[in-house]
Structures are given as C-alpha cells and as structure tokens.
C-alpha cells in the first residue's frame, strides 16, 4: 500500500463513490483526492462524511451508554480503527490524461486514493490576462497553487458572489482587485456602499498598492479630507430620465412630465424642475401653455430632493445639495472622467457609504449607461476589441436584479448589462445574500459563481441549480464553508474549484514594496 494512501474506494457509482478512510487518512469535507492510474489521474472530491462500523447501531449505542454511565471502565474497542472508521462520499470531478476532461469512468474498485498535492495541479496554467481569486483548497487545507482565470472572459461573462454576512466577500473583492489593479486588460468600477475598499490611515486597502497612484481613482463626497481622492460630485446635466428607469419608482404621469421637461430644457431639465420653472409647450410665436400640472412638478421636486438631496435655496437663489454629491455648477466631467479611467484599464472606487441606496444605484446607472453607449458605438465602429473589459461591482444585487424589482419597475441598466453586456465587453460582479430572488434568466448569464458560505438551505439550493458544474452533491460542502473559503464554479474552469481566499491584509504585507523612486523635478 502506497504510503500516501488515505483511503480505498469500496462501493458506489458515478454519482456517489464510497471511500473507506485509512485510520490516519484525515479526509475532510471538500477534500480533493487523487486516484493514480496508468493512463493518468482521476480527481475526486469529498462531499459527505459518515461513520462506518462493523458493530451494529444498537450495540454501539449500548457501548456508548456503558462509557457514559461509567460502567465501561477498563473496556475499550479492540482494534478500534479496523472496526470503526470513516466513510467518505465522493464523486469524480476530473480526469487528467495529458489534458483535463470530464470523467466518464469509475475509479478502480478497491482502488487507493491519496490527498491531492500541488504538483497534481500543474495543468492549471496561468492565463495571459489572469484574474486572481485565491489558492486551491482541499478540505480546510490550502495548497500553494493559485487559482487564476482568464480575466476578460470571466469578467465579460459576469461574476456572481452569493454569500451571507461575514463570509468574507469584501475580502474576496479586495484580493481580486489588488491583484488586477495594475493590469490594464480590464477597468473595474466599484460602488462601495461601506467605504471598505479604498482603505484609510487605520485600515489597509487598495490605496496601499504600489501602483495605486497610477491605476486607482477614488471618488468620495469626503474627498477634501483624503489627499488624492476626487470629489464625488455629479453635475445634474449628466442625468437623463432614462438613467432613472428601474432605479426609482415614478408614476406614468411623472414619467411623462420628466420627458416633457427633458424635451423642453434638455440637460437642464432637473435644474429647471427644482427651480420650479413652469414647463411650457414649445409653441413658436404663440402663448406658452403649461403642459405639466403644478402638483406633478411638486412631487417631482420632492422626489429629487429625497433622491438627490437637491433643493433650491431661495435665500441666495442657489441650487444646493445636502450630500454634495450633485451640483448644477461643478462635476460636469465626473462621469466622463470615470469612464475614461476605466477605458484605460484602471480601477475606480466610488464611496457611496454616505448616500441612500437609490442614490448609489442612480450614480451607478448614469455611469453604466455611458459605458454601454460608448461600447456600443465602439462595436459599430469595429474598435471594441481595442477596449478593455469593464466590470461593475455592485453589492446587494437584488436591489436591481431581483425578480420583484424587475417586475414592478421594469428592467434597468444593470439587468440590461446582465443580459447583453457580454456582447459589449461589459460585465457585472454582483454580490448577493439572496440568490433565490434573482431570475433564472439572469443567473444563467452569470457564468462564474464564487460561492461563499451560506447557511440558508433554500439559497444553497438556488445557487446549486444555477452553477456551471454539477454541484448537486455539494450542499453540505457549501454549508460547511468557513470564512474565507469558497467554491468557484465557472464556464472557464474544468471543475468547481474549492478555494481559500487569502486574507487581504496578509497579501498587502507580503507585497514587496518597490524601491524608492528617484525624483527628477524640473521647473
């Protein structure tokens, strides 16, 4: 028996192989095992563990009773490892004969298996434009084998990150962004609802990347206090009624009013509504008619106040914004600059932590519309291939991708991107606690799922049903995922790869700082 052997396959079939664990085999849930064959290697993954015993259940209960009640003193199992053991349920996930492919054979009956080693994964080649996720995990152990996928493909085909709170999704995003920060094959926009990605003096973040100055832009309403940050201020002229679709609920009358206002005043439509300018008909030479009821205008003004924080200050006749995120005088270039930055393959983090949900989504919508328009034009002109993939990170994805939202408010830019963004090299990285509320049609388009731990059975079921690989036996695996552990299921992986995501802080500390640059200052 090979010294590496940790178990033997004793029964089962394609869906479920039963492995008896060697007494010191230490097989864990989620472990990757290997059966060496003459022609290659068969990879198995453990999805369940149970006890096996040569002793009947009632005898075991009796024995336990004796031990618990103290009447078994001096008695114990003779040859305990032989008679009581662990059975691991596993399934074949990959067959490696030169190149990897889906297994269509059973492992050898009574074949021995061993734990996977780093060398077994030498077929995982780092792609040309790598997107880093973490390290291969087997059970709770981490192998020194990195998980990279082809960035442009994965990003343009969307990523879904289903996870409940506290499972490490923020850490995952930070780890991904850190590695890809200075790689210009992709631009990534992050709507940072908790201001956790950029970093502060007290907390490490993307700002600590050696290339942050060249590749990272940070927009925040509090930019004045953070050197290098750009003020998050969007000029009202950047917003059109279309940007509000699917983000804010308006009645039909209100939609009509907004389009009329837009027709009359073009990019100044919001300013004019807030200034209470009557929206008149466009009658040349005739008396202007008021086409929108005062009541409707008042409601719109109130909604904009709530949504944008914008109001008209009669004391100095100025249009003001409570959150300072919107203005009618500055911020004209914000959206354009954000997109230019993304199109250079750089990363943009927008701090939306001080903004309402809808405001955050609106800002994202404005930018996303612009990106989509640009990429559509680029495709028409035949130059889309020269542009990097642009991906938008959005948290609490059901706000815009949820079934209920889509039914009640109609589609929005995010759902449009989810459905057709791939054609235009635009993708979403959608984070959600509730996969079950996202329509299957959208889930089907999200071709990479990074599954973090989830204690809700219904959610796990929903996730499993939508993955690229068959994870029907992985319910327990998913339920047992610890913080920082994940399974990545993707059209671009040969099998659902169990992963350990390194701690972001550790990566930052390990990164060798670049030698101090010499400065040539010329005046």
């Amino acid at each position: 028996m090979n010294a590496d052997c940790c178990g033997e396959i004793i029964a089962g079939g394609v869906e479920k192989l039963i492995i008896r664990q060697k007494s010191d085999g230490a097989i864990e849930l989620g472990d990757l095992l290997v059966e060496e064959r003459n022609e290659g290697k068969l990879f198995l993954q453990v999805f369940d563990l149970s006890y096996g015993s040569q002793i009947s259940q009632s005898s075991l209960e009796n024995i336990s009773g004796m031990r618990l009640e103290g009447s078994g003193v001096g008695l114990d199992f003779v040859e305990p490892h032989l008679r009581n053991y662990v059975l691991a349920l596993a399934r074949s996930i990959l067959y490696l004969t030169g190149s990897p492919h889906n297994p269509k054979i059973l492992p050898n009956f009574m074949g021995s298996v061993r734990h996977i080693k780093k060398e077994d994964l030498n077929f995982l080649i780092k792609p040309n434009n790598p997107l880093y996720f973490g390290k291969v995990r087997t059970g709770s152990k981490t192998l020194n084998a990195d998980v990279y996928l082809e960035g442009p493909d994965v990003l343009s085909h969307h990523i879904l990150i289903p996870a409940t709170t506290g499972r490490g999704k923020s850490n995952l995003i930070k780890v991904m962004l850190w590695d890809v920060l200075d790689k210009d094959f992709c631009g990534i926009l992050v709507l940072d609802a908790h201001d956790e990605y950029f970093g502060t003096a007290a907390a490490l973040g993307l700002r600590n990347h050696p290339q942050a100055a060249n590749y990272l832009k940070y927009y925040s309403p509090r930019a004045s206090a953070i050197r290098g940050a750009v003020g998050l201020v969007i000029n009202l002229r950047s917003i059109t009624p279309d940007h509000l679709k699917g983000i804010v609920d308006f009645t039909e009358t209100q939609w009509d009013a907004m389009y009329l206002a837009y027709q009359a005043y073009r990019e100044n439509w919001i300013s004019e509504i807030i200034r209470d300018t009557p929206i008149n008909s466009d009658v040349e030479g005739g008396e202007p008619e008021i086409r929108i009821a005062r009541g409707t205008l008042n409601v719109l003004r109130r909604k904009f106040n709530r949504l944008l924080g914008v109001y008209f200050d009669h004391t100095d006749n100025q249009l003001k914004c409570r959150t300072r995120a919107f203005s009618d005088t500055v911020g004209e270039s914000t959206v354009t600059q954000i997109i230019d930055t993304l199109e250079e393959g750089k990363k943009v983090v927008i701090d939306t932590s001080m903004l309402e949900d809808q405001t955050e989504l609106l800002i994202g919508s404005v930018v996303a519309h612009e990106i989509l328009d640009r990429h559509k034009s680029a495709k028409e002109e035949g130059i889309l291939e020269t542009k990097p993939v642009i991906s938008i990170v959005i948290e609490e994805a059901p706000r815009v991708l949820g079934d209920e939202v889509l039914r009640s408010s109609g589609s929005n830019i995010y759902s449009d991107i989810a459905r057709e963004g791939r054609k235009f090299k635009i993708g979403l990285i959608a984070i959600t606690q509730l996969t079950s509320v996202i329509p299957k049609t959208i889930l089907a388009n999200m071709n990479t799922k990074i599954i973090l731990g989830n204690e809700l059975a219904t959610e796990r079921s929903s996730i499993i049903q939508s993955t690229s690989q068959d994870l029907s036996t992985d319910d327990r695996n998913i339920a047992s995922l610890d913080k920082g552990e994940a399974i990545i299921s993707s059209n671009f992986t040969k099998f659902a790869v169990p992963m350990k995501i390194p701690l972001f802080e550790d990566i930052v500390k390990d990164m060798k700082t670049s030698p101090n640059k010499k400065i040539a200052v010329v005046t």
């Binding site: 005898s59 004796m66 078994g72 001096g74 008695l75 199992f77 003779v78 040859e79 008679r83």
Partner: protein, 374 residues
Amino acid sequence: MLSETISRLINGLHQNVNEYDLGDPYFQEDAYRIYPFARENFYPINGNGSSRKIAFVDGGNQELIGAPNFSVQLNRIYFNVFSETQRINQNELPQAIDFFSVTLLNLNDNNTQYKTLLFATKNDFSDYLPFESHLSFDSTDRLIRGTTRTDIKEVASVARRFAEWNYSHFIIDRILDKDDVLVSDGTLQTSFPNEVHYLDVLHERARNKGVTFSGLAKTSNMITTTGLSLLGSLHKLVEDWGINFEEWYYSPLAEGLSKDHSVIMTIVKLHKKADHIFRYEISNRQMKDLDDLNLNEVITCLAKNSVDIGFPGYPYGLIDADNNARVRANEIETYRVMLLSEMSKLGLWKKFAHHMRSTDAHHILNLLVGGYGR
C-alpha cells in the same frame, strides 16, 4: 385478556423451574467423568499471560445451490493471531482460504452414502484442504447426529469442519510456538466419521509443540442433574457461595473420556463486566501437562483478549474470526449465478433444475417478500 394469559404463562414457568436444588453437571452419555459442583473449583483469573500468542480459528459456509441429493457450498476458514489485544500480522499462511464443496447423496440398497468433492477457489489453497476421501461416509453412522437420514445441508458442513481442523495443523506448525494457544470456535467434539482422526492428530501435534489446543463455545445446552441450565446454575452458585472474583474460571467441570471428545471442560468468566460465561475446553492430554499456574496463564491470556467493549468477556479474536469467516448472503448470489450459467452453457441446466426446484420454493418466497439469499 392477553395480559392475563401472559401472567399465567410466567407463573407456570416459575413454578416449573425451581432452583432449590441446583444439582450437579449432567452429561447424558457415559463418555464423561463428571465433577460435582465444588466451591474450591472456582479460581481467579490472575495469571501472567502476556507473552503467549493466541490464534483463533473459525469457519463459515453457505449453500449456493442445492437439492435433496446434492449441495454446493462456499466454505471459508479464517484465523488471526493476537498477543493480548495486539494483532500480529504474518505472511506464513493465507489469513483466509475459500473453497467450494459439493456434497452428494447416493442411495445404494437403502444405504445412504455421502461423498464430498472439494474445489479450491485458488490453486494455492488446495494444499490446505482436507482429503476428499475423508469426507465420505454412511448416513447411518452413529456419529452423525440427527435422524436416520441427515439433511444434506447439515452434512455438507463436513467440509468446513474438516478444513478447520486441517488448517489448524498448519497454524500450529507455522505460526505458533511453545506455550502459545490455539482457540477454535466451538467445542472440540467431533460430529462426523473420520473427524476424530483429524482431532487426534491435532491434539498430538499441539502437545508436541507445546501449544495449548482449546475451544470456546458461545452457546451451551448443558444442564444439571436437576434439569436446570448448567451455566445458570453456576451463576447462582457464584452468588450463593459469595465468589467475589471479578474474573474467574471453574475447573474442572467434566472430562471427556472418548476419543470423540477428549477434553477437560472448564467454565470461564473472562471479564468482570461480562454478562456471559462460556464453556472452555482444553485437550485433556495437554491439561495433564498444565499445572494450575500455567492453566491460569493460558486463561489469563484469553481474558486479556476479552476486553472489547462490544462484548466484554468474549475473546476479541473470536469476534474477528467470526466476522471474517462468515460467508454472507450477498457473496452467494454471484457464485450462484456463475454456477447456474455454467450449467446452462454446458446444457445441464434442465437436468439439475428439476432437482433444485424441489427445495427452492422457500427461496422464491424470500424474493417475493424482499428476502435475499438463504
């Protein structure tokens, strides 16, 4: 109504089974010297048995196909070796040997004769099998228990029994050393003609090598002279006489005087937590060579192997041997199918099917109600 019936039943049992006189050990035949119950025959198990190896042997068999006139069986003999609770691995002998046996009935002039043919599943095993010639006998031979014509399935177990004894020779020769112990599952009493020869040679071989040849019986139908269960009576004596040994043996109980059963019988309680006491018999030739100290040591080393929490007081080696010697129902079907398909291939299916159908109705019923095998 039912509860009243049960109550009357128990009362009737109680009235008819009385313990006021336990009696003495009772053996029906004259072939035994009986020792009346005596307090001084109880001994504590407190010897030093650490250095002895114990080999445990057991066998199993199951019918594959059968008819009133033939039975094809799969047989298995298994052994293990322990030193206290540590298994000792060895390469000298196969740990288990499997073989097929075909027991045939012939009727000549009203005389039923049985003949058994042996087929090892592997060539290597052939050397360990008994001689086929020893497995032929007449059904009226008084050594065979039962009625005038014995059920062939019972007779078919002859192959397994003989194989056990035969294999034990090899175990003594190649595995065990002086002062070691061989324990067979069950008594050392013969059931078949010619069996006594195997036992005889075994007794002698063991004695010459200094190996204690013994048997431990799980079950006992022994009774006392007052009709009570012998083991039950001993339990009561332990209480009545205030025997406070946690582990003990009672010796001698009886001595077998005939060649069919030449042993000294003892009763053993091998662990303080044991609910069961067992009959343990040692070849009487060796018993004579064993003084009290050595006997205690032999039984002590058995006791030291009897500490499994699953069955305190029963040797773990026999638990293991029983488990591994069994021929299980799910093994049978594969071989059965092979046999039947070979019959079919050779055009013999029709010939044998008629005979087999006379006994396999039960099998069909089993299949109907979800049973499997026999």
